[in-house]
Point group: C2
Chain length 202, copies 2
């Protein structure tokens, strides 16, 4: 609803901070949030005004109500089903990783072209053959797809995802993908980040 | 040497593309690289001019020589030692992940405050108590630190890293860190990316 991507990117930090406060914390100030997260007071106030209106002077925000507003705006109230395409090194790591659930993502399965990978993963989630992808996603109403295949295969996986009803794609392959306008693609290039770190040391 | 971070972020894609071409490929054109990676011809030519001068008209770039120039510029020739602070869910996944080596990073160990985690990981790398961090990094000349601790602990880990001779920090904790000017901090906020995906679906 008119909230910029830049603001949305900050919301998980607010939520994370509020969730970890002691249960007995009733109110929390913008100053406390800003201090803990290394942000400016004014920015925090502006961001939160978009989510829940303003805090009360000298009292601040009601913590539970603010958590509720953030979870609603971020769409974390209903966990969204996600699948991983590509059960290689990175895909397998994500399949085992439990931290995504805190951010509304429920990874239910992975898919791979390599039939020898088919079966239960260490975390008890199933790795299916890639040929089952469309049927599975349509039947289960999967909305989020994570791409961890080699980059040569990424566009065809992206096409398959858009045919399967997936509406948001988290792409870890280092290549630009094309998809219909109603599908959001979020690119994550870990190799690029590593390049920055490494070149800083040369 | 005067190459912008934006350009450096694209170099791993070029390297990745060139490495996967068949061994018998001698020359490669900017047009072929641009087409494969979904980039513009002009951008590829400009980027590569900064790395190795120009290609030859109608022939293009010598593939092996371009790979060599990219590896040198990115500092991938000498694998750099890296350690992980925080052997929780994400840190453990990274410790098992083999893909970083292709990008010049050799993760040699992890550290955790939780003594029950001390010992060999599944991949045979050792998880040490956090109290061994400084001594280990100084002795082994570790240059890169990966932060996967909870955000409350991230700044103190960052301080410890800068005291231990680490010069580049890859921070996965959702908090801004402060460090001396000669230390590069690359922030990676996976929760922010997930927020974008999730809020697109609400």
């Amino acid at each position: 609803m008119g909230i910029s991507q830049t603001v949305i990117r900050r919301l998980p930090s607010y939520l994370h901070y509020l969730r970890q406060l002691p249960d007995e914390t009733v109110n929390v100030s913008a100053t406390a949030i800003a201090g803990a997260l290394g942000l400016g007071d004014v920015q925090v106030r502006k961001d939160l005004a978009l989510i829940c209106g303003g805090g009360k002077p000298k009292i601040g925000y009601d913590r539970l109500s603010l958590i509720n507003s953030l979870e609603t705006r971020l769409g974390y109230k209903d966990k969204k089903l996600a699948v991983i395409a590509g059960a290689g090194k990175l895909g397998s790591a994500f399949l085992e990783f439990k931290g995504f659930e805190e951010n509304g993502l429920n990874i239910v399965a992975a898919f791979d072209n390599d039939i020898s990978k088919v079966g239960y993963s260490d975390s008890g989630k199933y790795i299916y053959p890639m040929s089952d992808f469309c049927d599975f996603c349509k039947t289960e109403h999967v909305l989020i797809g994570v791409i961890t295949v080699p980059w040569q295969a990424a566009q065809s996986v992206c096409d398959m995802m858009s045919r399967s009803g997936i509406k948001a794609i988290w792409n870890f392959a280092p290549v630009k993908l094309e998809a219909p306008d109603d599908i959001l693609i979020q690119n994550e290039n870990l190799a690029s980040s590593l390049a920055l770190l490494s070149s800083h040391l040369t």
